[in-house]
């Protein structure tokens, strides 16, 4: 499935671009990610995601497939297979950076393909999208934290992605949500929930 996410980083595009190309640093901002040093441009590692009752660990590799300094676009290809044989994930992530008031707007397009048992659950389809959105939101929050200087000593723990999915939907719906639930937090930041989430 094709996913579109956009976010802003409090850095000028030039620096933001260099940061995003620094895979080892960026990896420390990916929830539940562990990364081994690169061997000729290929990074091996794993990403742990808790999907409701499922604890998945996708182990695989990632490469920086393209980087166009001038156009400030980059393509990262990643793939991973669940350790317990429940399927695999492939993602082609295309970053396009642009400037907004000395900050950087990042348009991220992800072509995500899930395969195997994890993908074969029609009732879960919609929520997978919510998770992806949440995953990016948490990633951005961690990235911002790093930009702000409080670099995490260790990679962030695997967040219970699904346990946060709802927060994202709420955030997305913003006031609309407030209108419906009278409990929504307009503009509420998923990341705020990320810190409060169990495990």
């Amino acid at each position: 499935m094709i996913l579109h996410h956009s976010f802003e980083l409090s850095l000028p595009p030039g620096e933001a671009f260099r940061l995003l190309l620094d895979v080892p640093r960026v990896a420390t901002c990916i929830p539940g990610a562990t990364l081994e040093p690169a061997a000729n441009g290929v990074y091996r590692g794993a990403v742990a995601v808790k999907v409701g009752p499922l604890d998945l660990v996708f182990r695989g590799d990632a490469v920086l497939a393209e980087a166009n300094e001038a156009a400030r676009t980059a393509v990262v290809r990643g793939r991973g297979t669940d350790e317990k044989g429940r399927g695999s994930a492939q993602a082609v992530m295309t970053f396009a950076l642009g400037e907004v008031e000395r900050r950087t707007r990042v348009d991220l397009t992800t072509d995500l393909v899930l395969s195997g048992a994890v993908a074969q659950y029609g009732r879960g389809q919609g929520v997978i999208q919510a998770v992806a959105a949440q995953f990016v939101a948490a990633f951005v929050a961690n990235l911002e934290a790093r930009i702000a200087g409080d670099a995490p000593a260790a990679p962030p723990p695997a967040l219970s992605a699904f346990s946060l999915a709802w927060a994202v939907v709420k955030a997305r719906l913003g006031r609309v949500w407030a209108a419906i639930t009278s409990r929504g937090r307009p503009g509420g930041r998923p990341a705020a929930d990320a810190e409060r989430s169990p495990r």
Binding site: G85, A119, Q125, Q129
Partner: protein
């Protein structure tokens, strides 16, 4: 008749049931063998990929694992060969159309077997399967059959020139003239969705190889033991007597068990290599991934009509989704084509059906085979004609129907061999007329108006069908009187629950007058009878039933001749009564079949009476020249909840003619079961794949089979017009219920919502489709398809929409 209470036509209880009701059935998974080990398959998780490598090191090291086989671990002779096609036909154009026992370098659907793991238990085999690391290079997949032939479509198999599996074309009459002179030309687009067989018992097999003789035995939950043996022997380079295939009790077939599967071959190769019997029992997820399914068919139609609704000509162009491979052949689309006109006669027809490959689960006949889709297209057209011309739906059908005095009737269609399709006998019009009475068709409009005044939406729909049954070539039977007097019937006619043993016993009882309890049947063991085909296409009553009758009559004649010689009475003076040959008029003078059997079995030193072959038995094969044609009409009453889109099927009237009925109880069982299968196709059973070809419906919480709360009240009526093509006068009935039901249900829902001008062009019909047609959804229009729903979902969750 000899035996009105238990012979042909009697509604006797089944002799199979006692054992099954006590839990005494012996299905594949109930069989045990010394040294048995258990298999699990590693299956492709991609719809299309190149297999770069398989690493089974970790799996092989797991305690309890006997072996892991990839294609490289099989003998070259097998590795090089693709699976045989169960029934190839000329219309097939693709060079490569089947898979290997295990994938070699490419996988073409999710679930294609890549490796087989053999271990001490199924659980351990699954533990190990999860440890087998397969590296894939994912390739683009074809998942929309309607786009499969596009120039820019990816290839289902990387090496194939295109995605065409085959093509059918049919034509009769002067199509140009028919359209030139038409009052109206009606255009339609119609789709039938892929569903599955879903026998409650999945597939399964045990392969064993004898150490010295090398004889292969395969116990398998199949419909076609003899066919599987033929292909297995050919693949292994063995003579047929060196291969034995046995079908134990089989927990339902419905078509998908009428295939020689890669898993069966892989099991035999594994058993050979290990020198131990290997069992594999398909689990339900495997059934969703790798057992053949129905097809998607999409049709565009032009119908040229006269003002009175007479169809002058039909132009039809269709696409049939074969899935990734042709495990059977093109029988399903072929059946769609040759059955196309059903019970109707038109001036002219021009038809083309493209058969295409996709990277989805292979398709093949499921109950109804190609017929329900032809029926759905034609019956949608009949409703469209009625709607367009403002005519009554039943009247349009009657106007175009083959008259009951026109049989034998040539439809204008031909078999691939060029033989004209000729209906043997029929009563389509009588069935329709009787149905309209039974269902209160004339008075329904009034009931409908009254219901609407109280806010209820009820609708009545109908459909008419022809079912070709008793399909060629033949089936056979041996009837043998044992010294005890018990009559043994042996046949290749494997049963999946149809009650073959009971109808064979009824036929024997009719001819030899023995009680049912004295007839035992052994079917589905290739060692029990040399030749056979198997069970598909509603063929057993016709083919095997007639063989049993012929063999039993030969036994009767031999017994009478022997008794005549033995007691010195002319054969004309003798008859068979209750298992004994008796002198007409002097029933005290009798000779039991058991005694005759004992004489003819001989005893050492005593010569058998001159002129008689040993044994009181006969074997007969009944070759059928052409199918028989059953017919009938169904009406369905539904109530629609216009607020939720829920459809409740309330009543079902079914009037049909399957020739002479051997056992009405069993005929009704076949009908009702078939109708409910059709209800599932009409409303519930949706097999969803995503755009990468990943199946999303892989459990019974999501793929919805009809349940006890979903079935209507049934009103069945039988009309019996004997077939002229077999001595019993019987026809097929196993698929009659399934063929017209989807069309009738959709017609009924349309009727219920006619005030909204609802028109439906596909099944299954989801409540969302129903609501969309009523315009009750905020954003009316055609209901979104599953893949569009996912697109909608993705935009609904698009983070930008939050800002």
């Amino acid at each position: 008749m000899t035996n009105p209470t238990t012979g042909i036509g009697a509604a006797v209880e089944r002799i199979e049931d006692d054992r099954l009701l006590r839990g005494g059935g012996r299905y594949l998974d109930d069989l045990e063998l010394p040294g048995l080990v258990h298999a699990a398959f590693v299956r492709s998780e991609h719809a299309h990929a190149r297999v770069l490598g398989v690493d089974a090191t970790a799996a092989r090291q797991l305690s309890g694992v006997a072996a892991v086989f990839t294609t490289d671990d099989f003998p070259q002779a097998s590795r090089g060969k693709r699976m045989p096609q169960t029934a190839p036909i000329p219309a097939l154009t693709a060079a490569v159309s089947t898979m290997h026992a295990l994938a070699t370098d490419e996988v073409c659907f999710v679930g294609e077997p890549v490796a087989i793991v053999v271990a001490a238990s199924r659980a351990i085999a699954e533990d190990a399967a999860a440890l087998v690391a397969v590296s894939y290079e994912v390739l683009p997949a074809v998942t929309d059959p309607r786009r499969a032939l596009a120039a820019d479509a990816p290839r289902v198999r990387a090496a194939a020139p295109d995605n065409r599996a085959g093509r059918f074309a049919a034509k009769f009459g002067d199509i140009e003239a028919a359209f030139a002179g038409a009052a109206r030309v009606i255009d339609l687009e119609v789709e039938s969705h892929r569903g599955g067989g879903h026998s409650m018992e999945g597939r399964g097999a045990i392969a064993a190889v004898e150490a010295y003789s090398g004889k292969v035995t395969l116990w398998t939950s199949t419909q076609l033991p003899h066919t599987v043996r033929r292909h297995l022997a050919a693949h292994l380079g063995l003579e047929e007597p060196q291969v034995r295939v046995v079908a134990p009790d089989v927990g339902g077939g419905f078509g998908p068990k009428g295939i020689f599967y890669a898993e069966e071959l892989a099991l035999v190769l594994a058993a050979r290599a290990l020198g131990r019997p290997v069992k594999w029992v398909e689990d339900r997820r495997e059934h969703f991934l790798a057992s053949v399914q129905q097809r998607d068919q999409a049709w565009t139609l032009q119908v040229a009509v006269d003002p009175d609704g007479a169809v002058r000509g039909v132009r039809a162009r269709g696409t049939n989704d074969c899935g990734a491979y042709l495990l059977y052949g093109l029988l399903l689309p072929l059946t769609t084509v040759v059955q196309f006109p059903g019970p109707y006669r038109w001036g002219a027809l021009e038809l083309e059906l493209d058969c295409v490959f996709t990277n989805l689960t292979p398709t093949s006949p499921v109950r109804g085979a190609g017929r329900p889709y032809a029926n759905f297209v034609i019956e949608r057209a009949m409703d469209a004609v009625a709607r367009t011309l403002g005519l009554d739906r039943a009247a349009v059908r009657a106007r175009n129907m083959i008259p009951d005095d026109a049989y034998p009737y040539e439809t204008g269609m031909r078999t691939p061999a060029g033989v004209p399709i000729k209906y043997d006998s029929g009563s389509s019009r009588a069935c329709l007329d009787r149905l309209l009475e039974d269902a209160g068709w004339a008075g329904f409009g009034e009931r409908q108006r009254a219901a609407r005044e109280s806010g209820r939406y009820i609708g009545l729909g109908l459909a008419c069908y022809v079912e070709d049954g008793g399909i060629p070539p033949f089936e056979g039977a041996t009837v043998r009187v044992l010294p005890s007097g018990t009559v043994l019937v042996r046949s290749g006619a494997a049963s999946q629950g149809q009650g073959h043993a009971t109808i064979f016993a009824q036929i024997v009882c009719e001819v030899l007058g023995v009680p049912l309890a004295q007839v035992m049947t052994e079917a589905a063991d290739t060692d029990a009878i040399p030749r056979g085909v198997g069970t598909l296409g509603s063929r057993i009553a016709v083919t095997a039933g007639s063989s049993v009758a012929k063999a039993a009559e030969a036994v009767r004649d031999k017994a009478i001749a022997f008794a005549a010689a033995h007691v010195g009475v002319a054969a004309e003076g003798l008859e068979i009564v209750e298992g004994a040959v008796v002198v007409r008029g002097a029933p005290a003078r009798r000779m039991k079949l058991a005694e005759i059997a004992a004489f003819l079995n001989g005893s050492a030193g005593v010569p058998i009476r001159p002129g008689f072959e040993p044994g009181l038995e006969a074997t007969a094969f009944f070759p059928v020249p052409a199918p028989t044609y059953s017919n009938g009409s169904v009406a369905v009453e539904v109530e629609v909840d216009a607020a939720t889109g829920a459809v409740r099927v309330a009543e079902c009237w079914f009037v049909h003619d399957c020739g002479r009925m051997l056992n009405p109880l069993l005929v009704e069982g076949q009908l009702v079961g078939g109708i409910v299968h059709g209800l599932g196709n009409a409303l519930l059973e949706r097999m969803v794949f995503d755009r990468e070809g990943q199946p999303l419906s892989t459990n019974y919480g999501e793929y919805l089979l009809p349940g006890a709360t979903d079935v209507p009240r049934f009103h069945l009526r039988h009309i019996e017009t004997a077939s002229t093509r077999n001595p019993l006068g019987v026809k097929g009935v196993g698929e009659s219920g399934t063929i017209p039901t989807p069309a009738a249900v959709i017609s009924a829902v349309e009727d219920a919502l006619s005030v909204h001008g609802a028109v439906f062009d596909r099944h299954p019909l989801s409540p969302e489709d129903v609501l969309a047609a009523t315009g009750c959804l905020q954003d009316p229009g055609k209901a979104v398809r599953p893949d569009e729903r996912r697109r909608e979902a993705s935009t609904a969750l698009h983070p930008e929409t939050a800002r």
